[in-house]
Every structure is written in structure tokens, then in C-alpha cells.
């Protein structure tokens, strides 16, 4: 059977050889491992694989300040000592070290996300995947948290050329602060980030109260979570909020950052998601049936990253992968049981039901506020709204939720903001 969606997958062989330096948890080699695993499951046969172009500095400067881009291009490990002031200014060193081929690395992953967005814009594919991208911490004028160039912002800017509204979803364990900050004032991008918040956890932003400002007020959604959240509670929260967002916002395209550090057993993360739980989020977003740009992100236990993103590639292709990892050059990394799924750990879930309910309520309240003040003409169906090129009747309802089912979901979720009678009232009136 032919795959329903046309999928473009971006990979450049040079990206895995980059080395951040000893003891640095970010290891681009995980991208090699992911690609290798994807290929050993023969997933490439179901999709188109592209090599991204290396983004030009001028493309990077669509978001970043030109001086920062220029500095990134110029700096090398040998010259960094001469520019200590700039290093501090741009927050390089330590978390974001200068290493060989740094700029090329940025060009490749940013180019991947930009290309992916362009392919989506030109309707050359339905889903585009760039596991090398998703570096969501990078700021306009500085690096942050292992991220130098914010490819997500660049990709979203590209999507905004064709779409009135773009939804950004972030399931990295860290807050997607760079993206949120970039689109803090605009209602054309809604950012939704699920992340660990508190205990001085990096980057320290992402309180539920941060909702955006000016036109962008209520268009930034933060779902702060505590340590050890498990599949069940995460998925419930995720689905509720995303459905609500879809209802209120009706985006033209979705960007999904799939940071794998929210998995159990990550070196830096502290959540307790299994790969299945993580992938369920991806599946859920996929069935929303919109142009979808999927990127990687964090993820600091290499083999789990490779597992996770391979499973998710499979999920996007609609393939359920067998649990036994086929032989490949990196098979030893997957010992001792050489299996694909890794179970969630035994962390205590510090998110109480009442806490999650409070968060959910708060988010839904904020979302309700925008229903009454649609920024970008909501009544206008965006011209490029994705229209599937196959008959809806053929659809397996498990795979894709049509509008009707979606609406039913939303109705049911009204219970979550029962305290907010005002909004219900007005909704009924209209």
C-alpha cells in the first residue's frame, strides 16, 4: 500500500561528525545513529530523502542579527580567545562552545528546516522531517543552551509566507524559549511548549503566566510541568490542550519540535515518558492533518534519541516498527536487549492530578480569551489550508481525526474550565 502522506526527510552526512567537545552532552553523532537506524529499518524506502542546502548567512539573518551571524561565521576554536568580549556578548563558550565547523553545522541544520518549510509551502510534501534541527533556545542576538541558530524560527518565518497562522508545538523537556521569545508579540504564530519548570531548571522561563504581549497576548502557551511526568498524564494534557488550540486557533501549518530529552532516562531531562508515549504525541499531531514540519531537539542519551526518532519516523510514515532492532553498525549501542522500545523509568511523578488540572484550566482559560478577539481574520479560511488529496471516506478514523470527531473531543473537554462560566456563556450566545 502506498503511503498516504508524502514525506520528505532531510539528512546531511556531515552533520554527525561535529564534536562539541569532551563532556559536552550534545552529541551530533546521535544524528548518524538515528539515520543509520532509520535505514536499517528500511524506512527510507517509504520516503524521499533530501540533502538540505547550507543556509546562507543572509537567510540566517532573516531572524538573527547580522552581526551575530557574521561572528558565528568568523569565529574558530583558535581565534576565540581574541574575541572574549564578543564571546561573552553572544553567550558563546561553556554551554555553547566554539568548535570546528561550527558555522557549517548551523548552516546544515538550519538549511534543513528552511528547506523543509519550503517544500511544505510548495506542497511538495505533507510532512517534512529534519532531525538535525529543533534548536529552540537560540536567541536573536545570542546563542543559548547548545543552540546557535534558531532554525525553528527560520522555518516558521518561511511557513508564514504561505500561511496566515502557524502553530508551534514543543515537547522538549526544556522550555522553547527562543521560539516563544521570537514570536512573543505576534498572533500569527502560536507557541505551545510542554516543559519542566522550576528548581532553576534551564532556561528558567516558561511559567504558565507568560502568555505573550501586545498582539501576541495569549498566543504563547506554556505548560509548566514537574519532574517525572508519565505517559498517561502527559498525553491527556497534551491532547486536551492541542485540541483546544486547534479549535481556537485553526493554524495553517504545524511545526513540531520533538526533543527527546523528555524521555525517561535522559542525561539532562527529568521526565518519565516512554518512547511510545513520546511517539504518541507525534502521531496525534500527525492526524491533525495539517502540513507538518517535524524537527529534533534535545536528547542526551544517544541510543534513546536514535530509538525515539526512528520510531517517530516510522509513526509519521504509518509504519509500526518491530521491536527487534535489525543488525547494524551501531547495534552494540542498543544492548543489552537490542530492542526498540524503551520503557519509562521509575521516577516518581511529582505532578499531582490537581496540579495538572490547575495548569489545564489556566491554559484553557487563556485560550478562551482569544476566541473573542481573533487576531488574524479567523473567519477567512486560509487559502492554503491543507486539503487532503484522498477521499475522506476511506479514512481509518483511528488514523486521522476528521473535523467532526475533533469537535466532539472539544465539547467533552469543556469540563476543564467549568470555573469560567463567562466564556461558556458567550460561547453559547454566539
Amino acid at each position: 500500500m502506498r503511503s498516504k502522506d508524502k514525506i520528505s526527510y532531510f539528512y546531511d552526512g556531515d552533520v554527525g561528525n561535529v564534536y562539541f567537545g569532551p563532556n559536552h552532552p550534545m552529541k551530533p553523532h546521535r544524528l548518524c545513529m538515528t539515520h543509520h537506524l532509520v535505514l536499517s529499518y528500511e524506512l527510507h524506502k517509504k520516503m524521499e530523502v533530501y540533502r538540505p542546502h547550507k543556509a546562507y548567512p543572509v537567510e540566517l539573518a532573516q531572524f538573527h542579527s547580522p552581526d551575530y551571524v557574521e561572528f558565528l561565521q568568523r569565529i574558530t576554536p583558535n581565534t576565540q580567545e581574541l574575541f572574549s568580549n564578543e564571546m561573552v556578548k553572544y553567550n558563546l563558550g561553556e554551554d555553547c562552545p566554539v568548535f570546528d565547523n561550527l558555522f557549517e553545522f548551523c548552516q546544515i541544520y538550519a538549511g534543513g528546516t528552511i528547506d523543509a518549510a519550503r517544500r511544505l509551502n510548495n506542497q511538495l510534501c505533507d510532512i517534512a522531517i529534519n532531525w538535525a534541527g529543533g534548536l529552540h533556545h537560540a536567541k536573536k542576538c545570542e546563542a543559548s543552551g547548545f543552540c546557535y541558530i534558531n532554525d525553528l524560527v527560520l522555518g516558521i518565518l518561511e511557513l508564514l509566507k504561505y500561511h496566515a497562522r502557524v502553530l508551534y508545538i514543543d515537547i522538549d523537556v526544556h522550555h522553547g524559549d527562543g521560539v516563544e521569545e521570537a514570536f512573543y508579540f505576534t498572533d500569527r504564530v502560536m507557541t505551545v511548549s510542554f516543559h519542566k519548570y522550576g528548581d532553576l531548571f534551564f532556561p528558567g522561563t516558561g511559567d504558565v503566566k507568560d502568555v505573550g504581549e501586545r498582539e501576541g497576548k495569549f498566543y504563547a502557551i506554556n505548560v509548566p510541568l514537574k519532574d517525572g511526568i508519565d505517559d498517561g498524564s502527559f498525553l491527556r494534557l497534551f491532547k486536551t490542550i492541542i485540541l483546544k488550540v486547534m479549535e481556537c486557533y485553526a493554524p495553517g501549518a504545524i511545526v513540531l519540535q520533538c526533543g527527546a530529552d523528555s524521555l525517561a532516562g535522559d542525561r539532562l531531562g527529568c521526565f518519565n515518558l516512554s518512547i511510545d508515549g513520546h511517539a504518541a504525541c507525534v502521531k496525534f499531531v500527525k492526524q491533525l492533518n495539517l502540513p507538518l514540519l517535524v524537527t529534533g531537539g534535545g536528547g542526551y542519551t544517544k541510543e534513546n534519541v536514535a530509538r525515539c526518532w526512528t520510531v517517530e519516523t516510522g509513526a509519521l510514515l504509518g509504519v509500526e516498527l518491530p521491536n527487534e532492532i535489525p543488525e547494524n553498525d551501531y547495534i552494540k549501542y542498543f544492548a543489552p536487549d537490542y530492542s526498540l522500545k524503551c520503557p519509562s523509568g521509575h521516577l516518581e511523578n511529582l505532578n499531582s492530578k490537581s496540579y495538572l488540572n490547575t495548569i489545564r484550566q489556566q491554559v484553557c482559560e487563556n485560550l478562551s480569551s482569544i476566541q473573542h478577539a481573533p487576531g488574524v481574520q479567523m473567519h477567512e479560511v486560509p487559502p492554503d489550508f491543507y486539503i487532503p488529496d484522498f477521499d475522506e471516506d476511506e479514512l481509518n478514523p483511528d488514523e486521522r481525526v476528521n473535523r467532526h470527531i475533533q469537535d466532539k473531543h472539544i465539547q467533552r473537554d469543556d469540563e476543564y474550565y467549568e470555573g469560567d462560566n463567562d466564556n461558556d456563556q458567550t460561547m453559547d450566545d454566539s
Binding site: 517509504k46 509551502n121 528558567g204
Partner: protein
């Protein structure tokens, strides 16, 4: 009790000349002690400490099982292991001198479990040891270099001489009172320590932050009480002394301490627990308060006592080692001797003068000084709280005290302007949060503020002594600048409250740091044109999207053959469960299948195989390396295990033919894979291929044609503990 006795030691130290540097020579103590395995209780405590330590380190994530089992299932006495290694001189020394066999033997486990012993040490104890080392090196090594110890001793001796001068001037009772006060203080302090330790012990099981805070709060409050009462006590003490109680008491306690060996052990173990907790607390604690407290302390109990008290703190720290050296017989003897000395001293003092009236007056005056100091600490910004006039000063207390107090304060403050400039830059960086703080351990010693608590291994580590040479100058500077600095040093609102069991070197500089840690956890989103992206208005018209750069299609080949192959072949097959190899699942079998798969992929992808760098993936990378080069790489990796930075900097010198790219490729494709397969076999329960500092072991010979094509089963040699096997 232990503390008390120790204080005696220090008292003897402070008063009787010639006992310089006692207690800093750790090795000395260690050498003297023999391990006694009967101390079950101590062992239990150690395990508790360890569990607490580990869970604190890992953020409660991965707690290793206690007791640790070695390869053949026997439990390993961690305390003993720790102690033996420590005795030899630490992990590095043991490794360097191939002493793991000895260690293993010493632990009563024999030679066969050497690898697991080593591993257990790595897993369980190395971090603790490093942490302790860090704590010590900060004190001892740096001190040794900076001569802080000497300075302390010099200072105490100087004070001593001044004191003698005083005595000659007919103010003997001053000293006597000091001795008395000190004993009292010491006692109280010991009590505080004990109560703190009790709390700590209860809490260590969980080492939840909140509980630590509580324990700390308890310590604080008891100290609080203590301070408010201290003046009263001083008066009472004076009376006691005049009645000659002091003498008896000292003798009494001297005798007591002899009988309390076992208590000592428990007490010292408790102290370790407490120390661990205090350490953690100190990290986040306001260090400025400590500075102020030190200052207060010094004035209150006069400088002499201050120095001694600091020594006590040091002593407490050095006592951590007593955890391991549970048979303190030697030390007991020493301290008993010393306490006898002290007793004699005190007795002679008591015998010297019995002018209780005068003494009372003096204790009154030192209370005045205490009050002044309190005010200064409370309102550091208030210029009206200058230094009282001379006449008033002498009214308040003896001049010597004042001079010392001011000197200490000056010394505390003088350090700050000097370090400030250098710190500005650091502070700039500190404002930005770090995603992975623990990896900068070696490079940037102090940015406590933003890191995740559970990651923070670090203790504030300003190593400079504030007892700088200018201490000996006798003028009491009073410039605005200094008053202003004092404000910074005392920026905690409720100064008198906390006496952090602070180590001597920590306080003054770090007050800066404390400020930055005050930055609220909630960060705001930065706003402005420098932060937000420019998003154009939606016009309803598609803007131009560059269709030129859409990526280069690599797969599938565009000739349309894709569909045919695709539809026939089900994709996403897993691993075949069965194969026709003579020895399924043997090394050769697995290698064969990997090679088979690789060949298939190569055929399918064609040129793409190289474009995607599959030729540079997997252990085949090692084929382009000679055996000699591989060996050199591994040896270097092993010897630089703890300083991987150095490895990468020097690697190109040792392996000139390899570019950095090749080294990295080898590292990930061969070295790590081999290390991982070692872990897979030897330590399947603790696998981590992302920790660059893991011990690097490997199984089997290098990957290569020989390994690939040699038929028949081959002996797999374990090369992890090369050193120790050779030793054996």
C-alpha cells in the same frame, strides 16, 4: 563530646605554642589508623551518607543498590573499600601504582574480583572521594600554598604574644575569662553541632531539599538562641570560674572523653553526615552571612577565640576523615594529652587571679562591643555607626579586642575590591543560565546561581584567604568605601541569626555570588527589537518563497523503480530471529550479519552510501587505523580519563597523522562502541555511553580483518584492568 574534646585540642593549640598545624596533616592521621571491621554502626552510617550523597548528586534519579555486590555476588564493604583506597592515597594513586589487587585483598575479597572492585569504587565512591578531595584541596592544598595555615598559626601566636604582654600588664583575668568563655562556647558549639547532626542523620535517608533546609533551620535557630544567651552565659561563666569550677570540669571531661571511644566514632560519622549537608547548604547559603557571623564571632569572643574557632571549623572538616579512621586510639591519646595540657593551663590561669569583680566589668564591656557590632551588621549602610571614640572604646572592652575586630573586618573587606574587577566579567556570564552546569566543573569554579540544584557538585570555591598580611597593621581604617563594602558583606537582613558552619576561606568574596543567586527563579521574557523576530502582516497573498533551495533529492532514485521495489518488499523488518550460522549469536555470527546488512545497504544505496558517510560509520572505521595507533589512542584515553579536555588538545601531537575529524569519528564509531560492548557484558546494569569520563574498558581485540575472519571461538581477553592484572 567528640567536638568538645577536639576543641580542647584546638584550645591547646591556640594557647600552648608549638602545636602548629595540628589536624591539617590528613595523611598523618590516616597512616596511624587501622581499619577495624567491627564497627557495624559506622558502616551503616557511611552507607547512609553515601546513599544521601549519591541521590543528591544524581538528583534522586539513579540510586545504586546498597550493599554493592561484586562480580561473584559477595557484598562489598564500601566503607572499607573507601577507607583502603583513601589510605593509599586515592583512586589515582591506586591506579597509577597498580594497587587494585592490594585493595581488593585488603577488603578481603581476593584477586579475582579486582575489576568489580575497581568498578564499584568508580560507581559508588569516586565521586564522594573527589568531592571530599575537592573540599580538602580547597582548604589544605591551597592553604598550604597560600600559607593560610601558617598564617593562622602565626596569627594565633602573635595574639598569644600580645596576650602575654597583656598578662604582664596585669590583665591576666582577661585571658582567664577568655579561656573560660571559650570552653563554654566550645561546649555550646559542640551541642549545636550535635543537635544539628541528629537532625542530619534523620534526614540523610531521604536528603530531600526541604529536609535539609529544616535541619539547617534547626541549626540556625539553636545558634540563634545560643547567641542571645551568650552574654548571660559569659557572666555566669565568670562566676563559675571564680569558684574554680572550670578546673574540675575540664578534668572531668578529660577523663570522660577517654571512655567514649565508641561515641566518638558515632559522633564523627554524624559529623560527616552533617558536613555533607552543610556543604550542600553552604553552596546555596548566603555566604555573606557567614562572613558577618565570623566577624561577629570574632569580636564577641575576642579574636583569639575567633582564630581558634576557625580552626575548630577546620578541624570538623578534617574530621571527615575520622569516618574512616574509626579507631582513634592514637588520636585519643594525643587529645587526652592535650586536654590535660589545657587543663593545666586553665588551672594555672584560674590560680593566677581571682578578681571576679573586675572580670564582671569586663564581660559587661564586651557585651557593649557585641552590641555595637550587631548594630554595624544590622545597619551596614548607616555611616553614623562609625567606630566609637577611643574613650568609649576602652569603655566597651579592652582595646585589643577592638583592634582585632576592626582588623578582621578590614581584612574581610579588602579582598573584595581586588577581586571585583575580575569578577565582573564572570558575573556577566553568570547572568545567563547554563543548560548543563556540571560540565564546567574545572573551568569556572563559581556560578552557583543558575544551576540545577541536583546537578551542583560544586561548593563555592574562592580560595583566597582573607587573613591577608595587612592584618598586622594596627590602624583601623574608616573610609566610606569600606563602610560601603561592609554593606555588601552584610546584605542579609537578619544578620545575627545564622552561623553557617562555614569554612574559613569561603565567606567574603562570595557575597557577590550570593547576590546573583538571589535572582529570582522566574525569568522574564526579554522584549524589544533585539529579541523578537520581525513578522510581516498577513496579506492573504503568498509571499515569495524561494523555490530554488528545496534540498537536493538523494533518495529515492527518480527513475520510477521505486514503486516496484517498494510494494513488493515489506519495509521495516526487524532483526531476524534465526540464522544459519554454526554458532548463532556468537561474536562472529553477529559480525557476519552486520557485515551482510552493510553490504546490502551499500548495494542498494550505491554512491549514496558514501554521501551519507556510511563508510565512516561503525567499527570499520578502525580499519584505517593501525594497531599501534589504536593502542596509543586507547592508552591515552585511559590516562586522560579524568581530563578529557587535555586529551583532545594533545591528541594531535600523539597521533599526528590523524585529523581531529578522524579522531572524533574513531571515538564515536570504535572507541565508544567497544566501551559500550564492554559495559554490555561486564556491567549490564549500569550502561552509559554518554558519559565521556566513564572508565574505558574493552573486550576482545580490535575490530579488523583478523577478528572478522578468524574462525573458531577465540579467547576473549578483558583489557580493562591491565594494570592490576599485571600487578597480580
Amino acid at each position: 563530646m567528640e567536638e568538645w574534646r577536639e576543641l580542647r585540642v584546638d584550645e591547646g593549640d591556640g594557647n600552648a605554642k608549638g602545636n602548629c598545624g595540628f589536624g591539617f596533616d590528613l595523611d598523618f592521621e590516616i597512616e596511624k589508623c587501622r581499619f577495624d571491621s567491627c564497627k557495624e554502626r559506622l558502616r551503616g552510617l557511611f552507607d547512609q551518607v553515601l546513599v544521601g550523597f549519591m541521590s543528591e548528586k544524581s538528583g534522586g534519579k539513579s540510586i545504586r543498590p546498597i550493599p554493592a555486590l561484586c562480580g561473584d555476588g559477595r557484598p562489598v564493604d564500601l566503607l572499607k573499600l573507601f577507607w583502603v583506597v583513601r589510605k593509599i592515597g586515592g583512586h589515582d594513586v591506586v591506579s597509577r601504582n597498580n594497587l587494585w589487587g592490594f585493595v581488593s585483598e585488603e577488603c578481603g575479597l581476593g584477586f579475582r574480583v579486582i575489576p568489580s572492585i575497581k568498578l564499584i569504587y568508580m560507581k559508588y565512591l569516586k565521586e564522594l572521594d573527589q568531592w571530599l578531595q575537592q573540599v580538602f584541596s580547597k582548604r589544605d592544598l591551597e592553604d598550604g600554598q597560600n600559607g593560610l595555615v601558617q598564617k593562622l598559626d602565626l596569627l594565633s601566636r602573635e595574639l598569644e604574644t600580645r596576650f602575654r604582654g597583656e598578662l604582664r600588664d596585669g590583665q591576666e583575668q582577661g585571658k582567664q575569662e577568655k579561656v573560660g568563655n571559650f570552653v563554654k562556647h566550645a561546649k555550646d558549639r559542640a551541642n549545636v553541632l550535635c543537635s544539628g547532626a541528629d537532625h542530619s542523620r534523620l534526614s540523610v535517608g531521604r536528603v530531600a531539599e526541604g529536609i535539609i533546609c529544616k535541619a539547617h533551620g534547626n541549626i540556625d535557630s539553636s545558634i540563634d538562641d545560643y547567641f542571645t544567651e551568650s552574654t548571660k552565659k559569659m557572666v555566669r561563666k565568670a562566676v563559675n570560674e571564680s569558684n574554680g569550677f572550670c578546673k574540675g570540669e575540664i578534668d572531668d571531661d578529660g577523663g570522660k572523653s577517654c571512655d567514649e571511644d565508641s561515641d566518638n566514632i558515632v559522633a564523627s560519622a554524624k559529623k560527616v553526615i552533617e558536613k555533607v549537608i552543610n556543604k550542600i547548604l553552604n553552596c546555596g547559603e548566603t555566604v555573606a552571612v557567614a562572613a558577618v557571623d565570623d566577624e561577629r564571632f570574632s569580636v564577641q569572643d575576642n579574636t583569639d577565640l575567633c582564630v581558634v574557632a576557625k580552626k575548630v571549623v577546620k578541624k570538623v572538616i578534617s574530621k571527615t576523615h575520622d569516618l574512616s579512621d574509626n579507631t582513634t586510639h592514637d588520636k585519643d591519646r594525643v587529645s587526652v594529652e592535650q586536654s590535660t595540657d589545657t587543663a593545666i593551663l586553665a588551672r594555672s590561669d584560674v590560680g593566677d587571679v581571682l578578681d571576679s569583680r573586675k572580670r564582671k566589668r569586663q564581660s559587661h564591656s564586651s557585651r557593649g562591643m557585641l552590641n555595637w557590632l550587631k548594630d554595624v551588621a544590622k545597619h551596614p549602610n548607616d555611616p553614623s555607626l562609625g567606630i566609637p571614640e577611643c574613650s568609649k572604646m576602652s569603655d566597651y572592652g579592652n582595646e585589643e579586642l577592638w583592634v582585632q575586630a576592626l582588623l578582621v573586618r578590614e581584612a574581610l573587606l579588602i579582598q573584595r575590591p581586588a577581586t571585583k574587577g575580575g569578577e565582573n566579567l564572570l558575573k556577566d556570564q553568570q547572568k545567563k543560565p547554563r543548560m548543563h552546569p556540571s560540565m564546567y566543573e574545572d573551568d569556572v569554579p563559581s556560578h552557583q546561581s543558575t544551576e540545577k540544584l541536583r546537578c551542583s557538585k560544586r561548593v563555592p570555591s574562592s580560595t583566597k584567604s582573607y587573613l591577608c598580611p595587612c592584618c598586622s597593621s594596627s590602624s583601623a581604617p574608616q573610609s566610606k568605601d569600606i563602610v560601603h563594602q561592609a554593606a555588601e558583606a552584610g546584605n542579609s537582613p537578619k544578620t545575627p541569626a545564622k552561623l553557617v558552619i562555614a569554612d574559613v576561606e569561603e565567606p567574603p568574596i562570595n557575597s557577590n555570588e550570593h547576590k546573583s543567586s538571589d535572582v529570582p527563579a522566574e525569568k522574564q521574557v526579554s522584549l524589544g527589537p533585539l529579541f523578537q523576530a520581525e513578522v510581516p502582516e498577513w496579506t492573504g497573498v503568498h509571499a515569495e518563497s524561494d523555490s530554488k533551495w528545496l534540498g537536493t533529492r538523494m533518495w529515492a532514485p527518480e527513475d520510477g523503480e521505486r514503486n516496484s521495489t517498494n510494494q513488493l518488499d515489506p519495509i521495516g523488518k526487524g532483526r531476524q530471529q534465526q540464522c544459519n550460522c554454526p554458532f548463532p549469536d556468537s561474536v562472529e555470527c553477529v559480525r557476519f550479519h552486520i557485515a551482510e546488512k552493510r553490504f546490502k545497504l551499500k548495494q542498494e544505496l550505491g554512491l549514496l552510501f558514501y554521501r551519507w558517510r556510511f563508510d565512516r560509520m561503525g567499527e570499520e572505521v578502525s580499519l584505517s587505523w593501525t594497531e599501534e595507533e589504536e593502542k596509543r589512542f586507547k592508552d591515552m584515553m585511559r590516562s586522560y580519563a579524568a581530563f578529557s579536555n587535555k586529551f583532545w588538545n594533545t591528541a594531535s601531537r600523539f597521533l599526528p597523522s590523524k585529523t581531529r575529524e578522524k579522531l572524533v569519528s574513531y571515538y564515536f564509531n570504535v572507541f565508544l562502541v567497544q566501551r559500550r560492548s564492554y559495559q554490555n557484558r561486564v556491567t549490564p546494569k549500569d550502561i552509559d555511553s554518554d558519559d565521556d569520563e566513564k572508565e574505558c574498558g574493552s573486550i576482545g581485540s580490535s575490530f579488523g580483518y583478523r577478528a572478522l575472519y578468524t574462525p573458531g571461538p577465540k579467547l576473549i581477553s578483558c583489557t580493562l584492568n591491565k594494570e592490576s592484572t599485571e600487578f597480580v
